[in-house]
Subunit: 307 residues, 3 copies
């Protein structure tokens, strides 16, 4: 009967980070920087309009909980609304592109898709990584058809007068323990196109995920070839996970940078809503001459609580 | 029993806007810029203190939902509290002036008092329009006496040390299908005084609203004479509306600008809380020499959802 | 069953403030500047994890309700989470230091620990006062043991690369009408150490509170000796209160500033959640040569409403 649900998550950790050129620093981390996920506060709802049609909305903030600061924009996580029914789901506003679904699937079992996951935290950034959310977006998710799912995203210009639209397409197939997806995203504002092939499989004793990703940029920015792997092993209330990622950037046929990293993590379930965790991540980047340009080691322990 | 209600509205549309000197732009609009109303998130409550006395409060944000940004200040919509009872209603803080009630009445049936309504969107701005909300305000609404209603607003200085107080007064009469109001607002910070005569009438098959507004400014800023008209025609779940507005600014006896515009709109009710809509607005401004200084055409279709 | 409670407070007053060198100004105050407390909006919850263990979180904003502006950072009041059980309570994030508990106790009956309380509003600031909340904090509260309570606070560096950590310790004893506490806080970022001895006693017809506070700074900043006193007298729905505070700063053995002030206040309870109030505060500061450097008089009447 209530038309709005207030929900959120607080995730804080304590640990150390060591980066090339700076000493090791012991500090408190916002979960998104050194734990599982970024703290958030949200407001969402679904209204049944009858005849199978529903209206939905979501307003979700991202919080640096260690300082009490709100990340910008205020509703960075999501600011969207739309309709859903037999035709699928239409979403307007600031939301994730459909391509992000393929990325999320490729990391779904790689150290909990967290700050300990190497792909999105350094390795895939060496050549310039994709944007997960877009303003001014129309997103369409088709209804699931015998396991086949998919969607389209189009973002109108992000800055007035600029040709910085985004187009993305996703197609996937999920059946029992397996889930495959192929995603493409064209970000005109950066002149980068991304292609992601992702897969996950639940063996029961372990869950696997893998992804192959490419970026095609301008002649000056070159192209990326990227791979990510992950495994989750549940042991009672404990979940162990490991992840690996590697990336190579070529400009004009020459390798301009190489990056790789791995992560390890464990969570301990206190309840459906609360977890303790610890994790480790390391990644290195070197330029075409083999000189290290990044070398990061992160270790942290923390608590995550959903409400 | 709960002491706070979380509520809000998301309104997004897609359309095009063409302005003098720039080409047509197709984009996503926040409802307040190209739809019915500005998205919002609010927190409000009323406490019964016994003996007919009640305490009330409201904290309401305004959101650019297409980008997830919060409009400034954070509680732009309202940040107020007060007491109400047999004596009427007293409100302290940031809230609408009583004069705004007369303005709202004058546009109540003019394209849904929305971004498609010509008066407040360009036409009345040609000579400088009033401010609807004030900080540091004390507002008193008298109890309804046989249809007669009214109120007073006083805003303490908005900027320390400046004589920029605001005083406003409203008196109205509502009886069955008719509603009349007269409002006056003196904004010392801008040296502008406003007078608004407003009326609305519900014919059953159609609802009408009209307003006559004047601004009296300094010799340099001159005076405005302004008129607005509107009609709403309900047809089942559909509501059709049209609005017209015109404005003339005189400085030193000479016409320095003339503006006029009209709007058309339709809403389709999906539920009490959800609507589809489409609208069109055009307005033009020309200076004393007859040269166009503004020429805007807006068309958009969207969805509004209340929660 | 609900996992989150939305709560808050709005407090607004109207009054006048006169400060040295400027005339008297009549204005609307945010409660924290000229009333009882700063308006706030918060989200909090406690989850029972079983076995006596609980998870807790709190996200609390501070609002300038007279203008609708949010104080910075967004969750200035609190942004924290943690666990509690038989071992006590562990809190991570932005929260009050344990030293603040001793300060709060010393002012607990001194004009409602409000903007009318002289100690924290001018008198104790003459030599530089403590910070009540810290980011990146780990706070531990021991379980109450036969009336003995206490805790520890440690804040990791506030600014990257700076040695501006904070350490605080609190020990207290509460038994029936009496409550004593001793707190120490070392703020490395300011090179100031604080020591607070606080006591409160409930006589039934009146409640008393008192505090003795010292600041030990660098040779250049010198040291402070400070005293605060307060009394609350309940008379039916009315509560009368008075407070006094004095401070002396010595640099290199010489008195560099002397400050003193007092406050008077009354509240009238409309309900558990709503109060009317009026208050007066004055404080003066003079430098080592006996020249007044501050002379403030505040009078205001207002309303406070909790939700």
């Amino acid at each position: 009967q209530s038309s709005v649900t207030v929900y959120g998550r607080v995730d804080l950790s304590v640990g150390s980070i060591k980066e090339l050129g700076t000493g090791s620093e012991t500090k408190m981390f916002n979960g998104g920087n050194g734990g599982l996920t970024t703290p958030r506060l949200g407001f969402r709802g679904v209204e049944d309009l009858g005849g199978g049609l529903k209206a939905h909305f979501k307003l979700e903030q991202r919080i640096d909980a260690e300082t009490g600061a709100l990340q910008s924009p205020s509703f960075k996580g999501e600011s969207s609304m739309g309709l859903m029914g037999g035709f699928g789901k239409l979403t307007l506003g600031r939301t994730y592109s459909v391509y992000d679904d393929a990325r999320a699937l490729s990391n779904s079992n790689s150290v909990f898709d967290s700050a300990f996951t190497p792909s999105g935290n350094g390795v895939f950034k060496s050549g310039g990584d994709y944007s997960s959310r877009f303003n001014n977006q129309m997103r369409y998710d088709m209804p699931n058809m015998g396991g086949v799912y998919g969607g389209l995203s189009y973002a109108f210009e992000q800055n007035a007068g600029a040709d910085d639209t985004m187009t993305a397409v996703l197609v996937g197939y999920k059946n029992g323990p397996m889930n495959f997806a192929l995603g493409h995203q064209n970000e005109k504002g950066k002149s980068d196109k991304y292609l992601q092939l992702a897969a996950a499989y639940d063996l029961g004793v372990a869950k696997l995920s893998a992804g192959y990703n490419t970026r095609s940029g301008t002649a000056a920015k070159g192209d990326d070839d990227e791979l990510s792997l992950g495994v989750d092993v549940p042991v009672g209330a404990i979940n162990l996970s490991a992840g690996f990622a590697t990336s190579k950037t070529k400009v004009g046929g020459f390798t301009s940078s190489k990056a790789s990293g791995f992560g390890l993590g464990a969570t301990y379930t206190l309840s459906k809503r609360s977890k303790l965790y610890a994790g480790y991540r390391t990644h290195e980047v070197e330029d075409g001459a083999g000189v290290k340009t990044a070398d990061t080691r992160l270790f942290a322990m923390g608590v995550r609580h959903d409400f």
